[in-house]
Symmetry: C2
Subunit: 655 residues, 2 copies
């Protein structure tokens, strides 16, 4: 089977090379991406897997006439080595010493004035610019308008196409009309006349729609364009139900075919029309540019742009807008005879991203209720597991069957739609791998000792959940208890934080890490991520991280934002611990010293008392734990049966 | 007297207006600044005070033909109101609601194509660019080459001029030859051929010189230019002693007259000569630009600059280089017929700034010794104060006489040069003003109750010190003890921090604020600043702050950096508390999880046990306090006499 696969891959690459040669392409780049910069991509977009044979979730393939390379991260080194063997594709281990980055590799190999091919729909304009800069000395030609791979992949799966649905205001809490008004106010402030959006979660939120095109994320493939008097959604006809059409009509939302977005953007009419509209803010184009966070130096240069016609200024996120759409936009403006410059547009995070992140009161009410039921399902699962331990039947379970049980309990919740990600059920040393995924036929059997880590969540009409708990299945070592307790202390310290409005996740991250850092232990990931409402389980712009990255846009924590609080300890080959509690940002106090915010837990699942070593608790964190456990009992007990309730009472006893 | 002064000011402004009218200047801007962007300015540079009568340390005067305005901050509202009364100058209270900024005010008033005059030597090129951008719509002409104010101020004090001196390697720990080699390596990496520096502390550090031209900061007025084979210092002839000249000759440092710097920079020869030098890095100009932290977008634009001649690329900090020097530089390159663009230069924080911040082992050894003696002087002062309290003679003291005592004890240290800033001695409600300055004839008398805050430091051959302690002079309220204890807990939590290399002050700030924030109290300033070596008591690039400001360059904490740790509580009209302990950044551990750093205290002065309420200590902070106090006794006791030692023993008893 493996040999056959290798031959198939070799043939596919040969076909690609012959096409490349025909088109004068020297190197061809295939990332793992869709047209929307989504976190998860549908089978239609798994071109990289098709041409390399490597099936991991992250990787980039670069094919030259003589050689080919695949770049992936540490999670996949072993798998990639196996899957690439015999294909002629070399593995490049990202971040390992001496391993060139893709741009370094290309810079080394590209001929001067050579051509780099790629599917411009799957590479953002920011990525293209970055590559252009890094390969500047080679004067590379970028060929992204036409995708030769598509022609070779004849049995490509179809684009996903599931009916979209309208999310009622009892769930969204705000009408699209109101959301559009807020967006247009931001456009006005920035001096922009057109807003182009390709991020699916932003579009779903803005138009109060949902879909089923991406696994674990209920979104519909679409693009959006908003001007001062029009709103257009490009979506596959097959996804537009009668209800969706009726709703769209009711809010004057123009629905156009998904595949027509480029044609629309490159039509000069769009730009001529918006240029004619009056706008009180046109005189202050210079001021609008301030908000894009440019340096003074850059701004000096930009002043010459003040004489441009105002109507062509577009607001978009260069990190998510594809090169193809950007080029269509530029062509349209050129055809409209409107002078354009790179610096002229408002290139920044979409205002929708910020609107969406701060949940409104309706959303918060729904989310709190969903988390309560979701937490109860997790408690039921933990009780079920405990019974298996006590009965001595835990050995009959595997990581996979435990996950199945968890998933079935969650599926029982009335408004459950799907999981928000594949449940991680990792036993013993498997839990040291942060993104471990148990396969039915290839996973560990549980035993009455050590720890099981379960990380899971659901999509409900009332919101998106996520939670991780690590539990003892029997005897554990002192190190395990120490590490678990320090993780719990970090989790509680962050949960208890009080901070001034203006703080971002970078300011508070150390509260979760400090107990571990003090013992010279770190977890190699962020402490927390934002979470959507019936959208992505990972959602920006806010997060809880400590590391500064130059280009990073740092988002201030605002009331209504939701973040995860998930410190952990990962000891390779031994065990993994993660405690993830979801928090909402809330008002705490306002006085002469400022506006103070705090976190409030949404997740109500007990920590495992069997894993707490009181020697590592401080009186403050002991109090915080006892208060949290009392609250868990109060919230969840009414949702459990008598046996489960008795178990919860014992788990939440004051320590 | 006040009336006379008003008349004088009116006459001065009238003279300025007549000059302005002669020169066609519509508005004239006078900041508080010298040619070097120094924190403190010499009397020669106090032009703003001369023309406005306002003597505070911060303010900007703008004079138009009909009206004039002075902008200053909250510290000076009352004083400015008094001093400006009757002068015809309006007070603009910065940051107050509805008060226009200088650029807003100017934008409102400037005629289209009007002229804004200023002394281009006192305004950085970054400030000029920012003004240019904000006034873009008015198409303002900037006249900064010629300073009419200088002509009117006939009795202007002379430029300060004190002999410079050489700082031996037993103090500096590194030769200028070695420092220059490190600087040139950075220039090479950035593709720069010329380095222009006007910040005095950077120049003093680079050339191992010191001077006496700025109060509390032992620097000599100077400018510096470094190419790949030359180093030139522009310094007043009167400051060059025989020893300095001999030293300069020994390291091939060209000394040229201070006033010749512009002529030198606008001479095309400089650029023609450096363009001729070979440089292996010329091919990678694009790569060099990466380090300037530009956005991808900006970089795309910059690629077109790759064809420029390499030799004219200059490294400088636009925030400190004056408009006058920058213009001279541009003229020189134009005259040399070298095409230049704004984006072409390396405009960023000087590498010297980073070198200087991480003290070497010799410097650290000296600094530790200096802090030990400095701490002993503070302990002696506290003992002296305690005796006055016990004898009932504390009422004979004032804030001012207490400061005098402190200063005299410090002056007794063998290598003492001067204070590093004017000692702050603030009793009772005065301490709520962060920058309170007691005048001999206008200050509070001490009483046997409440708290005295003393913030002071010295300049020694072995380094620069800074320390604050707040002490009880008798009975204090519960609130005072609670606030003092929470401040102490914050101080200790930061002192005890362990953090991964890569963290900046923004990551750790919350450790100092958390105890106060948890009770909804904040101090409206940073937690900490860097400190120089026999240089500025405030030194970048590192600091400990929580707030994010877009343009801010965030400096990673590196071993050998020195930072203050000074949380506080300031209750207007009641009391002020600040506890400032100086810390060095040190290595803590290195393992598979990373390189961990920690802080170590340099200051060894006890906290006041009379102000500690154990109810607000956690066991951890109690331990930390007792460990710190044990260390204070161990370090300082040998430097004290028997009575002082006995007092120190009682102050450092475990709590």
């Amino acid at each position: 089977m493996s040999d056959t696969m290798n031959t198939i891959i070799r043939k596919r690459i040969a076909a690609l090379r012959s096409k490349m040669s025909e088109l004068g392409i020297d190197y061809y780049l295939i990332p793992t991406a869709d047209y929307h910069n989504s976190e998860y991509v549908a089978p239609y977009f798994q071109t990289r897997a098709y041409f390399s044979g490597f099936t991991g979730s992250n990787g980039t393939l670069v094919v030259g006439m003589e050689e080919a390379g695949l770049w992936t991260d540490g999670r996949y080194f072993i798998q990639a080595e196996k899957e690439l063997a015999g294909t002629g594709v070399d593995l490049y281990r990202e971040m390992e010493e001496g391993v060139p980055s893709i741009s370094e590799w290309l810079e080394d190999r590209m001929p001067v004035e050579g051509t780099l091919g790629f599917d411009g729909g799957c590479i953002s304009i920011r990525q293209t610019r970055s590559l252009r800069k890094k390969l500047a000395r080679k004067k590379v030609r970028f060929a992204g308008e036409y995708d030769p791979a598509a022609e070779i992949w004849t049995d490509r799966p179809p684009l996903p196409s599931h009916p979209a649905f309208v999310l009622g205001e009892e769930y969204s809490g705000e009408s699209t009309v109101s959301k559009l008004a807020r967006l247009r106010e931001k456009m006005r402030q920035a001096g922009a006349r057109i807003y182009v959006e390709s991020k699916l979660d932003n579009l779903m939120w803005l138009f109060n729609l949902r879909g089923g095109d991406v696994e674990c994320t209920p979104v519909a493939l679409s693009f959006g364009v908003v001007t001062m008097d029009r709103q257009i959604l490009f979506i596959q006809d097959s996804e537009v139900t009668e209800a969706v059409q009726e709703y769209a009509d009711s809010i004057s939302l123009e629905l156009r075919p998904y595949e027509n977005v480029c044609a629309f953007l490159q039509d000069p009419e769009l730009y001529r029309n918006v240029s004619m509209l009056p706008d009180s803010r046109d005189s202050s184009i210079g001021a609008g540019a301030d908000s894009s966070g440019k340096t003074a130096q850059e701004d000096t240069e930009k002043n010459s742009g003040n004489n441009l016609q105002p109507g062509c200024r577009v607001l978009f996120n260069p990190g998510s807008l594809s090169t193809r759409l950007y080029n269509a936009l530029q062509r349209g403006r050129e055809a409209a005879d409107i002078r354009t410059r790179t610096h002229y547009d408002i290139e920044k995070r979409s205002p929708v991203e910020d609107f969406k992140a701060a949940k409104n009161q309706t959303e918060m009410k729904n989310i709190r209720a969903a988390y309560r039921e979701d937490s109860a399902a997790v408690c039921r699962f933990l009780y079920w597991l405990r019974r298996h331990v006590e009965n001595g039947t835990v050995t009959e379970l595997t990581e996979y069957s435990a996950a199945e049980k968890m998933d079935s309990l969650r599926a029982g919740i009335s408004d459950f739609i799907e999981l928000s990600f594949g449940t991680i059920s990792a036993y013993g040393p498997n839990a040291a791998m942060m993104h471990y995924s148990a396969k039915k036929d290839d996973c560990a059997q549980l035993r009455p000792e050590g720890m099981l880590l379960v990380d899971c969540g659901g999509q409900y009409l009332r919101g998106t959940t996520d939670v991780t708990r690590t539990i003892a299945l029997g005897p554990v070592s002192d190190d395990m208890r120490r590490h678990y307790t320090l993780t719990a202390v970090g989790n509680l310290q962050l949960m208890e934080a009080v901070f001034l409005h203006g703080c971002s996740g970078r300011n508070v991250d150390i509260l979760a890490r400090q107990p571990l850092w003090s013992t010279f232990v770190d977890y190699k990931c962020g402490t927390g991520h934002g979470i959507g409402y019936l959208l992505g389980v990972h959602e920006g712009p806010q997060n809880i991280r400590w590391r500064y990255s130059g280009g990073m846009e740092e988002a201030v924590l605002e009331p209504g934002m939701i973040v995860s609080d998930e410190p952990g300890v990962y000891i390779e080959g031994q065990y993994g611990i993660r405690i993830e509690t979801i928090l909402e940002v809330a008002e705490a106090a306002k006085n002469g010293d400022g506006r103070f915010l705090c976190f409030r837990p949404l997740t109500f699942v007990p920590f495992d008392p069997a894993l707490i070593d009181p020697a590592y608790l401080t009186p403050q964190t002991r109090d915080a734990l006892n208060r949290y456990h009392a609250r868990v009992y109060e919230e969840i007990a009414p949702l459990l049966d008598e046996n489960e309730r008795e178990w919860l009472r014992s788990q939440t006893q004051p320590i």
